[in-house]
């Protein structure tokens, strides 16, 4: 078990998400950066979609009530075990009563903690991904005790030689496809969309990232239609909104672009003030 001494800014338990419930208006949810989460999981010998802790901007302070094998991936938040610096992408054994804490954010925005066995918090509609109104708890809080699945022995070395390429974290190019309403844009709007450097606004979270530089927008809203994580919507004010994992199932703004699945992880590691540009596939 892991006790939350401090939750950090915003941390949630996530797995690959909730599929098959969109008809009830339930978002997919799931890890924002599936690559980092699966790397951390594999390095501790878990299935790649075992539940992990997703920490945003500032890390949590956690105390282990039993020994465990852990691994971090994604953002570098200057992790420390009992006050001594440790590294991402290194599975290590933590003894009972150890404290995992974090310092300053050095790189990226979202850090994943995997523990061998995986977190065993409440499962609702086939998933442990926390989401308001679906799971009882929507974020982790001080004093929470997070259960861990029974550990599998001798798995520490299993993926020790896994090749990690996290260059995506520093990329600012977001690969995209045309969205369903892309062709309704004028030539000028299309060109701007694909050449402009956009800044991530302060309105960014697990539901969506709003971008700062507005486009001229004279498109009418559409009849409420379907969206997916990675859909880029053009709002009446001309701002672009990139939908992320917790996005609504439907939306009424024109859908001008759709992110390549692998671009989602790059986007998920961006935060307020970061620059991105869209690149045609």
């Amino acid at each position: 078990m892991v006790e939350v001494l401090k939750p950090g800014l915003y941390a949630t338990i996530q797995d690959k998400g909730r599929f098959g419930f969109q008809a009830y208006g339930v978002p997919y949810a799931g890890v924002m950066d599936p690559y980092a989460a699966s790397v951390a999981n594999m390095l501790v010998g878990n299935d790649e979609d075992a539940a992990v802790l997703e920490m945003t901007m500032t890390g949590a302070t956690l105390q282990f009530h039993s020994a465990a094998i852990i691994c971090l991936s994604g953002a570098d938040m200057s992790p420390m075990l009992n006050g001594h610096p440790i590294e991402n992408h290194k599975a290590l054994r933590v003894e009972k009563d150890s404290v995992l804490s974090f310092g300053g954010l050095k790189r990226g925005f979202r850090c994943y903690l995997a523990v061998s066995g995986g977190f065993e918090t409440e499962k609702t509609m086939t998933s442990r991904s926390q989401f308001k109104g679906v799971t009882n708890q929507s974020v982790i809080a001080k004093g929470d005790v997070l259960p861990i699945m029974a550990q599998v022995k001798g798995m520490l070395q299993k993926h020790a030689s896994i090749k990690i390429n996290d260059a995506y974290m520093d990329a600012n190019t977001i690969e995209v496809f045309k969205g369903p309403e892309f062709d309704k844009l004028s030539r000028e709007q299309q060109t701007q969309l694909l050449t402009q450097v956009f800044t991530v606004s302060k309105d960014n979270n697990r539901m969506a990232y709003q971008l700062e530089q507005p486009l001229e927008n004279d498109l009418d809203p559409i009849i409420t239609s379907l969206v997916l994580p990675g859909t880029v919507q053009l709002t009446p004010s001309g701002h672009l909104i990139v939908l992320m994992r917790d996005c609504q199932t439907t939306g009424g703004y024109p859908r001008v672009l759709q992110l390549k699945e692998s671009a989602m992880r790059t986007m998920a590691q961006k935060f307020t003030g970061n620059k991105v540009c869209f690149k045609w596939l």
Partner: protein, 246 residues
């Protein structure tokens, strides 16, 4: 009658999905056709399809990781559309949803009454007499997209959304009316509150209504509201319903 089919467009939606669109309008015949096609695709149980979801005039087919050959998949879908039985015989239920229009809940009734030059009683009457069609569930878990709001009750969304709208709030936004299933921010005009559960993730069927069902709002007093709230919280309130033969 010969089978009614529409000219559909098929668009790629990213690397892993195909969007199918009907003519751009909100129409019950289109809804039936969307649901008929959706049911036929689900029935085929195609392995690479992980999710099929619909809205007013569209259907989104989500493939496992990537949709490998767009043309092939479209051909498959087109043939399903053409060969499916033209009738869609899913039982439609008419749900009678209790709503308390007391001003303790209907915080925008007064403003709306002035704006529309209609008495509050007239607004309540028109809102509760109509039969609404459930087109789909979206926006929030358990939020029903309803068609059929009386033209005279159309009311623009508020220019500044409220940060908190109570669970169960019954509201009007533009041409639409709906019920907030959980507390949420929102810009619609609040005219009442409904004491029942719209979404319960613990239930086998998390929402009582499904696309294609119908709804009528039934005005109740504050006393009835409180009683139903208690029963609903205990999980023993039965929503009145009947088979709809529209």
């Amino acid at each position: 009658m010969t089978s009614m089919t529409y000219h559909l467009t098929y668009k790629r939606f990213g690397e892993g999905a195909i969007l199918i669109e009907w003519p751009a309008m909100i129409d019950e015949h289109i809804l039936k056709d969307v649901l008929r096609f959706k049911a036929a695709i689900i029935k085929k149980d195609i392995k690479v399809i992980v999710d099929v979801k619909h809205a007013y005039n569209s259907l989104l087919i989500v493939y496992h990781t990537v949709c490998r050959n767009f043309e092939n998949e479209v051909n498959t879908l087109e043939s399903i559309y053409k060969t499916t039985d033209s009738k869609y015989d899913s039982l439609s239920i008419l749900w009678k949803i209790p709503v308390c229009y007391d001003e303790a809940f209907g915080i925008d009734l007064e403003a709306m009454s002035k704006e529309k030059n209609l008495s509050k009683e007239a607004i309540i009457k028109r809102h509760s007499q109509a039969v609404y069609t459930v087109y789909f569930i979206g926006f929030l878990p358990g939020f029903l997209y309803l068609g059929g709001l009386d033209d005279t009750l159309h009311m623009p969304r508020k220019s500044t959304p409220r940060l908190k709208i109570a669970q169960g709030a019954v509201a009007i936004g533009g041409h639409q009316t709906g019920v907030y299933p959980i507390e949420s921010p929102g810009g619609w005009n609040i005219i009442g509150n409904s004491p029942i559960d719209y979404f319960n993730p613990k239930n086998k069927v998390p929402c009582f209504a499904k696309a294609g069902d119908h709804i009528r709002f039934k005005p109740i007093s504050m006393k009835e509201y409180n009683d139903i709230k208690v029963l609903s919280a205990a999980g023993v309130y039965q929503i009145e319903s009947e088979v709809w033969h529209g």
